[in-house]
């Protein structure tokens, strides 16, 4: 009977005797007998750890698409970055992994200071003075940003650029069913949000635009700021934290709120989770900030100390009057991001950003030399993702490339729904989005290009 419980039979008997009980079943006498499970759960009995480990290894081996098996050129919101041993070792320390929310700051200074350092780093990257302690993922961050912005502007209309990641937009629309926000999706023209299409719509109190779209193009944040000024709207910018280190920051471009996906900061691809929701805002919005916030203070002997602060915003105090129901976040990923950023440092992060941009351009130039392979948007600069069209359906192309040893990208037909304003409907089926991170080599790109030329022919 494998398990992790310490009780000996003799101890169980003595504990029951102490409680004047004859059997362990009597502990559950308050539960009506008619409702109780009889004959046990219809599940296999427990198995020792080594047996389970073998079974889980069999399951892992069935994932042919793992980056350890296929060279990864897929991006579109999740990136294959270097995560060094030092980050894995530190972030894997049991003190961080097995702690809970720092309710008792006297014995949680480790986590609290690490979060304070994380908040400082995100604040600097986004160019805004406030960062929270993280949210679940990028999709959750943009959802919460909209809740904040609607509460602030007191208008239900939300302009949502289709340059924002398609699955995040799906999440936003799901939660808008409950809040009643009116989500107005706006298409892209030449890789930029078509802001002109909403001119004069004064019901819009929130404008959500990406710094770089999921197709890799750069949006016009100055135009978005001008629109926000005209409408009196709150400006929410979705920003990739790696690119943010070399681009003018969302704050510098006038964002009131900046959000993003922090996975590129030290979290493995992980099949999509747990990732890391980034959330920063202007000082004016701090009372509406969702999630936890760590602040610096002093202890009663005057020593520097950290504590979760402005707690009166949170659900356990405000209950149904809270603007967010967030309780837990992704603290471990936030600490991981602080460690990863500490390892990269100022020049390392900038080099990763520059390599992603350079190598993605290199990749795009290599594959578009193949007959029949073209850029989706000719002449439009891209950052770390690039969309190409080929003669093959995207999903077919990816299957064939996998046979050659590559995860060649993400098929747009799997990512965006038919009729989505982000892409020409005639090209959706034949488009894939690709990315080359700082880990991809010239040799890998060359072999990939050869493979693509072969499978397309």
């Amino acid at each position: 009977m494998p398990d992790y419980m310490p009780h000996t039979e003799a101890e169980i008997e003595s504990m029951l005797a102490f409680l004047d009980l004859a059997s362990i079943d009597e502990l559950f006498d308050a539960i009506p007998k008619a409702l109780q499970v009889t004959g046990g759960l219809a599940m296999a009995d427990g198995a020792p750890e080594p047996d389970v480990a073998f079974e889980m290894q069999r399951i892992a081996a069935a994932n042919r698409g793992a980056a350890s098996r296929l060279v990864c050129f897929a991006g579109a919101g999740a990136y294959d970055h270097e995560v060094p041993s030092v980050v894995r070792a530190l972030a894997g320390r049991g003190e961080f992994v097995t702690a809970y929310t720092p309710y008792q700051p006297e014995v949680a200074q480790g986590m609290l200071q690490a979060i304070f350092e994380f908040q400082t780093l995100i604040s600097r990257l986004y160019g805004l003075p406030i960062s929270n302690a993280s949210l679940y993922d990028g999709a959750a961050s943009v959802t919460e940003a909209i809740n904040l912005a609607v509460a602030s502007s007191k208008r239900q209309g939300v302009l949502l650029s289709t340059g924002v990641h398609p699955t995040w937009r799906s999440v936003v629309k799901t939660f808008a069913r409950g809040t009643g926000h009116e989500i107005i999706e706006v298409g892209l023209v030449d890789g930029r949000t078509d802001l002109a299409s909403v001119a004069g719509r004064e019901d819009i109190g929130t404008v959500v635009v990406p710094q770089t779209t999921f197709l890799g193009t750069l949006d016009d944040l100055s135009a978005a700021r001008a629109l926000c000024d005209q409408l009196g709207a709150v400006m929410v910018v979705v920003s990739d934290p790696v690119l943010a280190s070399v681009l003018k920051s969302p704050g510098a471009m006038g964002a009131d709120v900046a959000v993003g996906e922090g996975q590129p900061l030290g979290t493995a691809l992980s099949f999509g989770g747990p990732y890391l929701g980034l959330f920063a805002c202007s000082a004016a919005q701090v009372r509406r900030l969702p999630g936890r916030l760590v602040g610096e203070t002093l202890d009663e002997e005057g020593r520097r100390a950290y504590v979760t602060t402005l707690r009166a915003r949170e659900q356990d105090i405000r209950r149904e009057k809270a603007t967010s129901n967030v309780c837990s976040n992704q603290t471990l990923m936030a600490v991981t991001a602080a460690i990863q950023l500490g390892w990269l440092g100022t020049s390392g992060l900038a080099e990763v950003a520059a390599r992603c941009i350079s190598s993605t351009r290199h990749l795009a130039e290599a594959v578009t030399a193949i007959d029949g392979v073209e850029l989706l948007l000719e002449g439009v600069p891209v950052a770390r993702d690039v969309a190409i069209t080929t003669p093959l359906a995207g999903e077919v192309l990816l299957e064939r490339l996998a046979d050659e040893g590559f995860l060649g990208g993400v098929a747009l037909s799997a990512l965006v729904e038919e009729g989505d304003g982000s892409v020409d409907p005639a090209l959706r089926e034949r488009t894939i989005v690709m990315s080359a991170t700082e880990r991809r080599t010239a040799d890998e790109v060359e072999r990939f290009t050869t493979a693509m030329a072969t499978v397309i022919r």
């Binding site: 046990g40 989770g273 202890d299």
Partner: protein, 503 residues
């Protein structure tokens, strides 16, 4: 008990060297110092101004911090030494189920083949992940007595919101617009917050003198405008809602649904199932019940399981077993849509399935039995100084009240909690549930030994005696921790949320 054996869960021997403050990463920074090493790629890095519009580029890269790898390791290792954790010692924080987190689960979650899979990789290349998720869904449905589940929600609160949107979608599909959700006054704060975000008004149901839902008040509140009720069972007072069959019948009678907050599921694993109690929607906290580590406040995972009548509304796409035995994705016909950017906190899901496989159906029942046994043993053992708010058999946690102690000595629940830190134990949850005065909520979990429970009880006894003899000693605690009580008012008044906000 085994006389003389030392407790394994008491952390008071942990050495803490010195009393200096730990500098921040930024204070250790030296311009030009580096730690990073990247792969040799052979791809030249071109000047960014050649690749992107110059007006979008920053003049200089964002200032991060510049430290050596050696100093980075020292810094975060020292921070880890300033942090209480389950690995260090007993963590009887009520409502949070801080049980031991098996290390195997971490190893599995870090395996190549699971940890390095891109979330958008096609189904043909992720058959293992899809199988894992289908198997976990099946196991969670068996444990809860439900028909199907979504694994997408990232945490309990996200699960609540998902569950309430499912409730709304169900009523809407019946052409039924209902505005109210009933929530007991003992509920977690997330319940009313989630209900409000789902567009519902909250009606609070009082607790009766038994510590249970006031059935008469509930019947009074029920009408055709009620979309459903959110219940935690066992409730936050650690008591099983024994009228659950009557409650379910009454709510169903007016066409409402029953939502189960799975925060306390650990108490009833293999003993009774929410589906058999009449619940329609349930979220689980895998980071509580199924031992996935809490990570300092996340990541969690909050799958939502539903009864047959709600199945068609579940979020999609959902991992699905196909007729030919392979796995794919499918979206339920009337799905509310996605609630996660990808597929959920998948590495947390892998940990939970590993835990479930080691325990099996038989082991999960033993988990509930021993969690409840430990809580009851502690309840009786400490009852002299810390009487239970409700003097009867409890479930996996016990709420005691410090009212008498406070009256006699001036020592409050928070003081007891702080003084307990010096004794080598994490504090219990204090002042929750809100309806119990001077509440101290202990959840020892099934993985603490009798010796650890005895040591915890002895520490609590010592504190009670000290409260009578030297109350100032108790209110001065903690003194042995890296910092002493912190000035929370100052933190809020002079907000310093980043290094750059220091004056």
């Amino acid at each position: 008990m085994t006389a003389g054996a030392a407790p394994g869960g008491r952390a008071s021997s942990a050495p803490l060297i010195g009393n200096d403050r730990e500098p921040t990463l930024f204070e250790m920074s030296v311009p030009g110092r580096t730690a990073y090493q990247l792969r040799t790629t052979g791809i030249p890095v071109r000047p960014l101004a050649e690749l992107l519009p110059a007006e979008l580029l920053a003049e200089s890269p964002t200032d991060i911090a510049e430290v050596s790898e050696r100093d980075l390791v020292a810094h975060f290792t020292r921070l880890s030494h300033r942090q209480f954790s389950v690995d260090l010692g007993a963590y009887p924080l009520g409502s949070c189920t801080m049980k031991y987190n098996p290390k195997l689960c971490d190893t599995i979650a870090a395996m190549p083949g699971l940890a390095d899979v891109h979330p958008a990789a096609p189904a043909s290349m992720t058959q293992g992940w899809l199988e894992l998720m289908v198997e976990l869904e099946d196991a969670l449905c068996e444990v809860t007595g439900m028909a199907a589940a979504t694994l997408q929600p990232s945490a309990g609160a996200a699960g609540e919101l998902t569950g309430l949107l499912l409730m709304a979608a169900y009523h809407e599909a019946n052409g039924d617009r209902r505005r109210r959700v009933l929530i007991p006054d003992s509920a977690h704060g997330t319940n009313p917050a989630s209900a409000a975000l789902s567009g519902y008004e909250v009606t609070t149901i009082p607790t009766d003198e038994r510590g249970l839902v006031d059935l008469a008040a509930l019947r009074e509140a029920l009408d055709a405008d009620v979309a459903g009720i959110m219940l935690t069972n066992p409730n936050t007072a650690g008591l099983f809602e024994e009228d659950i069959a009557e409650i379910a019948a009454a709510v169903h009678e007016v066409g409402g649904l029953l939502y189960y907050d799975g925060a306390n599921l650990n108490a009833i694993l293999g003993v009774v199932r929410p589906g058999d109690m009449g619940f329609d929607i349930i979220h689980m906290n895998l980071h509580k019940t199924f031992a996935t580590p809490h990570g300092g406040g996340g990541p969690g995972a909050g799958p939502v399981a539903v009864s047959q009548r709600v199945v068609d509304f579940l979020p999609g796409p959902k991992p699905t077993r196909l007729e030919d035995g392979t796995f794919g994705w499918s979206t339920p016909p009337r799905s509310i849509g996605r609630v996660h950017g990808w597929h959920g906190n998948t590495l947390v899901l892998a940990r939970a399935l590993t835990y479930i496989k080691v325990h099996g159906g038989d082991g999960l029942r033993r988990v509930a039995e021993r969690a409840v046994l430990n809580a009851n043993w502690l309840r009786r053992r400490i009852s002299e100084h810390y009487p239970a708010a409700h003097d009867r058999i409890c479930m996996h946690e016990v709420v005691v009240t410090g009212t008498a102690l406070k009256r006699a000595t001036g020592v409050r629940a928070i003081d007891v909690a702080k003084r307990l830190l010096e004794e080598g134990f994490h504090s219990p949850t204090v002042y929750f549930p809100l309806i119990i005065d001077e509440a101290l909520m202990f959840e020892p979990t099934e993985t603490e030994s009798l010796q650890t429970l005895e040591a915890l009880a002895e520490a609590l006894d010592r504190i009670a005696v000290e409260a009578h003899e030297h109350p100032d000693e108790v209110t001065a605690a903690p003194r042995t921790t890296p910092v002493r009580r912190v000035d929370e008012a100052r933190a809020a008044r002079t907000l310093i949320p980043t290094e750059d906000a220091r004056v």
